[in-house]
Amino acid sequence: MNLRRWLAGGALALVMALGALVGSASFRAEEVSILMPSSFTDASADLVKAFNREHRGRIHLKLIRGPLNTESISDLAISSLLLGDAPFDALLMDVTWLPKYAAAGWLEPLDPWFDPGDEEQLVQGARLGNNYDGHLYRWPLVADVGLLYWRTDLMDQPPTTPDALVNIAGQLVQSQAVANGFVWQGRQYEGLSCDFLEVLQGFGGDWMDTTTNTMELDTPAATAAAGWLNDLIRKGVSPYAVTNYAEAESLQAFKAGDAALMRNWPYAWAELQKDDSKVKGNVGIGLMVAQPGERPGATLGSWGLSLMRQSEHQKAAVEAIRYLTSESAQRARFLNNGYTPIQADLFNDPEMLKASPVLPDLLVALNHAVVRPPTPLYAQLSDVVQRELNGLFTDAESADEAMATSQQRSQTLLRAAGATP
């Protein structure tokens, strides 16, 4: 009575029959395919060519060009995985998908193929978000953390505390030096959760304790963090429009010279250095602010490659994963496409530093990486927080209320899912 199994069975039989046909015909190279968002397939075209040249007759690597949007590619991957026999051997995964996919049983542990020595080479931020339930399920391709962009022509130093940020940005707006103070991601979507996590960390709070499945959203720190974000809008430090901003809109505003500070990911740097940018050469990179004595946080983004449990070419697929994440691949991807490397020593590499002066700042941020709660239920929990926070900004709720509701709804969810007794 299980549709997936039926379909999987049918597909498997078909594949086996075809395999027998093909196998009898000739020695064929093992076909390995990996599904990635289009931006990554495009950036990897040369690497794939090189890989296939080196492995001629043995492995043939093919990248499946998926949609650019994170949610769209997740939908595509999940749809094909639900049908039982996904047409790819490996998948480029966002950090938040991992617990969900691992719990669903779709991923094959990578522990047999990677040893602790491999992991030691990684920069701190790249070591996070790859494990679930004691197993390694993902090998990072690019590192990615949230950053605070600041205008070097408007301030000497980026603010490091919440109060300083409000003061500096507020004054700049008041003196009409710039239209908006601080732009970030306030839209009801995953980006808001990322922004919130950084601020939460800076206020000394925590989202949840995943070892005991306890939510910590109604703590004074969490409420203060939410209240501070809300005040940014109320006090005019951030425009009301941030309540509908995603990354693209924030970048658009900052690039047009309409903002003094921006929270965004590393990719924005290259965009801001283009010729159509009004702030070219006037941008610095720093960390999200934190209360005195608290450690600032940088939400871990990052994409990595996972091996599918149902892959019939696991060994070959791992070979491809290793190749695509190798030092030379990282170097090429950084120099050609601006993707942040994962290997620690590359951050001190003269050739790399020549290409980008902000590499050391990225390293600092990566060392402050924080992960979103690594639970299979993360999507639900994040959805609750997005909804409540966006409600706080747009509906004139109080931060106390919003966070109390977040706490209560999250707990209800955990209970309904059977995650807590």
């Binding site: 969900k100 719990a103 669903a104 309540t243 299979p376 959805d383 966006n390 747009t394």
Partner: protein
């Protein structure tokens, strides 16, 4: 014999509609999520109990009904006016008729993307216009009390042509002689609209109403692209909630429950509407 002839159609309905329905019904009494390793495990009525207590579902149901009733109502009024206009003879009518249909021919996602850009703050054309007039920013897509109206607007823009088309077909099915006879009986053209056009158009009105209500109640792509259900969940529809539960949260048991509950609510809504119309005697022209 009749049954035999209808059998292929019934079979098709059973396969494309009945079977998924039964499957949803079955699934709604199971836990089937990442936590069960995506294997269905019977959990009694836990999903339904959760649904009854799920404020978000009821909020979404209310929002969905509000969206459906108001958009379809506006569409009907607007479509009626346009259809009456297009039914008159005037120069260039053919070209205008074709143009009127354009919004309907556009894929919803493309249309929604377009509106999302047009309404965006601060770079959308509307916002630029408003500020050039020295007015305050409208924040159309980030104000819970307004954004749902934007979704209504987009839906009205897109599907009014569809109703117009149905009503126009209805208008053309009314013989000219009836209007002549009515005038000779002493009625003015305006009275004719109420006493001849409307009653004879009623079957077409009800048809489009039924069709559009069902469609609007299942609104998904428009909301998903235009607002993503925000701000603060104020535009989230039942279909979007079901989708989130299934594709994002991988909780198929609850997703099926939400979907089925939405379907039951829609059925109830239409049933209530039918009874109301019947009690007003409005359904008589259909009882021939």
């Amino acid at each position: 014999m009749t049954m035999l002839l209808a059998a292929p159609a019934l079979l098709l309905i059973a396969v494309v509609f009945g079977w998924p329905m039964l499957r949803y019904a079955w699934l709604s009494f199971h836990a089937d999520s990442v936590l069960t390793g995506l294997e269905p495990v019977a959990n009694g009525g836990a999903n339904w109990l959760r649904l009854v207590a799920d404020q978000r579902f009821w909020l979404d149901a209310g929002q969905t009904a509000r969206f459906a009733l108001i958009s379809v109502g506006l569409e009907l009024l607007l479509a009626m006016a346009i259809a009456l206009l297009l039914h008159q003879r005037w120069r260039g009518r053919g070209a205008v008729r074709a143009l009127t249909l354009l919004p309907w021919a556009l894929p919803t996602t493309m249309m929604a993307l377009g509106w999302r850009w047009i309404f965006n703050t601060p770079y959308g054309p509307i916002e630029v216009l408003v500020r050039s007039l020295g007015l305050n920013s409208l924040d159309l897509l980030s104000t819970p009390s307004i954004t749902w109206l934007v979704t209504v607007f987009a839906d009205v823009w897109k599907t009014t042509p569809f109703i117009t088309l149905i009503l126009l077909a209805g208008l053309q099915s009314i013989p000219e002689d009836l209007y002549s006879a009515f005038r000779l009986e002493g009625g003015t053209p305006l009275q004719g609209l109420r006493r001849v056009t409307l009653p004879l158009l009623l079957p077409y009105i009800l048809l489009s109403l039924l069709f559009r209500l069902a469609q609007a109640f299942g609104v998904f792509d428009l909301v998903q692209v235009l607002t993503g259900g925000g701000p603060a969940g104020s535009t989230e529809s039942i279909a979007l909630y079901a989708y989130l539960n299934g594709m994002r949260f991988l909780d198929f048991g609850y997703s099926a429950t939400v979907m089925l509950a939405g379907f039951l609510l829609l059925t109830a809504l239409i049933l209530a509407g039918t009874l109301l119309l019947r009690s007003c005697g409005l359904l008589r022209p259909l009882d021939r």
